[in-house]
C-alpha cells in the first residue's frame, strides 16, 4: 500500500513567486493535514481537511497560503506570493479516522531566495 506522497520533494523559488505543493494521502483516508517546520523550530500544524472540507485552518500563517482538496482526494497548498520566511519543510499527513495515528509524507523542502 502506498504511503502519503508529496510533490515536489524540493522547490527553490524567488521571493514573490508562486509555488504549489501537492499531497496524495493514503487511499481511503478522509483526514488530511498540512504541517510545516521552519528552520530550528518545531513542526507546526497548518490545517486539517475532512474529505474536501476545511475542518481547522487555525494554523495557516496568513492569506498568502491557500489549501484546497477538491474531490476529497489529493490536496494542494499554494503560497502566493512567497516570502523568505516561508522557507522550511512542508509535511502532509493523513489518517483514517479522527484522533488516530497520522501517517506523514516525506515532506517538500521549500527554499525562498
Amino acid at each position: 500500500e502506498a504511503g502519503v506522497t508529496q510533490f515536489p520533494s524540493h522547490s527553490v523559488i524567488e521571493k514573490g513567486q508562486t509555488v504549489t505543493l501537492r499531497c496524495d494521502p493514503i487511499s481511503g483516508h478522509d483526514n488530511l493535514y498540512w504541517y510545516r517546520r521552519v528552520m530550528g523550530k518545531e513542526i507546526k500544524f497548518l490545517l486539517h481537511f475532512v474529505k474536501e472540507s476545511k475542518q481547522d485552518e487555525s494554523g495557516m500563517p496568513n492569506n498568502r497560503f491557500l489549501a484546497e482538496r477538491t474531490g476529497g482526494t489529493y490536496s494542494t497548498l499554494k503560497v502566493q506570493p512567497a516570502e523568505l520566511e516561508d522557507s522550511g519543510v512542508y509535511f502532509c499527513a493523513s489518517s483514517y479516522t479522527l484522533n488516530t495515528e497520522a501517517f506523514f509524507g516525506q515532506g517538500t523542502r521549500l527554499t525562498v531566495v
Binding site: 493535514y33 509535511f91 484522533n99 497520522a102 506523514f104 516525506q106
Partner: protein, 113 residues
Amino acid sequence: GESVGLHLPTLSVQEGDNSIINCAYSNSASDYFIWYKQESGKGPQFIIDIRSNMDKRQGQRVTVLLNKTVKHLSLQIAATQPGDSAVYFCAVYSGAGSYQLTFGKGTKLSVIP
C-alpha cells in the same frame, strides 16, 4: 493551548544500551500521544502511541510511559541499534475537539557503535 517541551536536543548512547527520551506536555485535557521517528530526508514515521486511559504500552523494543499526574511522557528503546539513530518527536493531541498534533522540538539520538 498545548505546548510540548522538556527538550533534550541530543542523546548519545552506546549500541546495545537502552535509550530513554523524555517529553512533557502542558494541557491536562490531552488524551492521545504519539512518538515519531524522523530520519534524514524523510518524514516523521509513527513508532508507538498511547491514550490517556493507559500508563504504559509496549511495542517491539519500544515502550511508552505516560504519567498524567506530572504530564510527562517517555519513550524507551531497548538494546539500541545503529538504525535507531534519528530525531525523535513526541506529539500530542489536545482533545476537546482539536485534531491537530502539537510537536515537541525533538531529540536527536546518536548510537555509538
